[in-house]
Amino acid sequence: MPTSNDLPPQNRGLTAIAGAMSLITVLLIVQIWLLSAALESFLGGNRHTALPAAIFSGVMFLISLGLYAFVDRIDSEVRGSSNGR
């Protein structure tokens, strides 16, 4: 049975990017919802939700950035192995 290691490096890179992209998309959807909820709450006169919303949004951005760094690393590795062939 073929494993992911049997695939060409480009395809493995594509899989990693697709996985990271899916996770970032989910985080982004949550962030969009969070921003709209925080804005709605702020305009409604409730100013206590702004801090937790900003913290959670920041955490989600950092996770997205981490995933992007992961993609970047995979990209470098794939390109390195492609150039070495």
Binding site: L14, L27, L39, L51, A54, M60, S64, L65
Partner: protein, 167 residues
Amino acid sequence: MNWLRRGTSEPLWKEEFSVRTADERYVTRRQLTKFLVLTSLGMFVGNIWILIRSLFYKAPVYPQQPVAQLGEIPVGGVKLFSYPTKDDRCIMIRTAQDEYVSYSQKCTHLSCAVYYSQAENRLECPCHQGFFSIKDGAVLQGPPSRPLPRVVLEARGKQLVAIEVKG
């Protein structure tokens, strides 16, 4: 923006016009990932902006303004006035002999003017059928998600004075 292109020695035009289809897909997905991360940063900046606005929020100072005479309107009657500025239209309803309530006339959905329906004893927005409670301005039905801001009234002598807006 060099940090966005780390890990490649190829010029951008060469990456974007790859000879192989697989390479082209690869580059497009990688660039979409960058775009998604930048959008995520945008969402975070938006939340920070709301936080800054919250931290530096100053409670508005409302003027004390006589809006009606006691007994000027009959029970079930309505009076329109402007408060706190002339552009902020408000509606006052006499709900009982000694009971007056007053709300902003702007619907919290899309700012249409609400009116008092005596038959249903509620405030109604004719634009999208948003209904508000006469007791506290809460949403009873329809698209508005927030209650109507309430104008606080105080009886001083024979006058009803608006002192602040809540909500």
